[in-house]
Symmetry: C2
Subunit: 231 residues, 2 copies
């Protein structure tokens, strides 16, 4: 199961061995890692190297450390890209434009994929979200539902990777552009435009028309990005 | 500059303080971090917590550790997403389909952005790549040039974030689907199809026609994905 390690970059090799266990199926999602003490003696490295490796896996979002209970392979990875992306943004001083553009680039084609793959149940869920949005006057709730609408479409693409990347971008937009929502609300004067766009996207989904759905999403994103970028 | 830390999740707080220094501009790309000894005394935490934090930043790709010279904030972040994404793929047993689909989703719209933003110099570089591809019979070189073609288009989008994400996906495709190239070569019997597609994309770029360029890329990606997925 383990091989003894003799080298300088020890923590990296510990990570590699843990990865190896994942590749070979010896560790699966939700599994408990051997204790730090056990890993120390099995791998023949210092306890601090083991701890470094585990910390890295924790921050990356692979391992969760439950106090008093040990270290586990996570079962969800939704936030796995957040930490590295957020630090990268800070260091690169990435602009709002770049973050939003990536979202736009992904969402347009994802809408097309969703039109192909969406299930009846997912269509019904999206219909309900749109109905709820129309019923409420509460702006905070509307925004929550709006996010849910986009999230459900990503889910309908049936590609976990796309869902993860889009989620990360949304969170980044929320945390880096703190006034994004206010901006959009300020600029979005003709509220019907949003509703019309959403219905067009929904039509594309219902008719399983990838092209129409992508085009509707493109129009929607263009409108949003005009609120964002040009103000 | 620093605040003393008193808590349980110490290494996380060390990371937060380093991030804070980035946010406030006290640390920039290429800067040397204070020595481990200095950080230990300034932050009032153990040396091993400092080392854990630095290891995490290293693996994430934020810090590079030069033996005997200290720790530096990296100047490039091209590989920043590789480690977390690759482990995530392993754990999720993400399929080739998912990885390739994400690439496809991003490249189609990115081609449209590139048509808008490409510079004369970038157009010339891409022309040269296509000419070189036509001249050579060496399949390995052709593949190298093909990758360069796609990379240059991503660059022309003028969005660093898109370049980074696409690069990561390409590397993942290379390392997880080791026989991808062979597969494509095997299936791509009509070699002219590839060349025709590339020229269509190039036409879209030259004419700064986003729609045409996206459509040409969509067609190209569809062809590639058919080699991939259906074999």
């Amino acid at each position: 199961m383990f091989t003894e390690i003799k080298s300088t970059r020890i923590y990296e090799q510990v990570i590699d061995q843990i990865k190896e266990m994942v590749v070979t199926g010896k560790l699966r999602k939700g599994d408990k890692l051997p204790s730090e003490r056990e890993l120390t003696s099995k791998l023949g490295v210092s306890r601090s190297s083991i701890r470094e490796a585990i910390r890295v896996l924790e921050v990356i979002g692979i391992v969760s450390c439950k106090q008093g209970d040990g270290n586990f392979i996570r079962t969800d990875f939704e936030n796995i890209l957040f930490e590295p992306l957020s630090i990268m943004f800070l260091l690169n001083k990435s602009s709002e434009r770049e973050i939003f553009e990536l979202r736009r680039v992904i969402e347009v084609e994802t809408a097309g994929l969703a039109a192909k793959n969406i299930t009846i149940k997912q269509l019904q869920e999206i219909r309900l979200i749109l109905d709820d949005m129309e019923k409420t006057e509460d702006e905070d709730l509307k925004i929550k539902l709006d996010k849910k609408f986009h999230y459900k479409i990503a889910k309908a693409s049936n590609n976990f990777l796309i869902v993860t990347v889009l989620n990360t971008i949304s969170e980044l937009i929320d945390s880096f552009i703190k006034d994004a929502r206010a901006k959009i609300l300020e600029t979005r004067k003709e509220k019907n435009i949003i509703e019309t766009h959403h219905e067009e996207i929904y039509d594309g989904l219902v008719n399983r028309d990838s092209k129409k759905c992508s085009e509707a999403m493109r129009k929607h994103m263009k409108m949003i990005s005009e609120c964002f970028i040009e103000e």
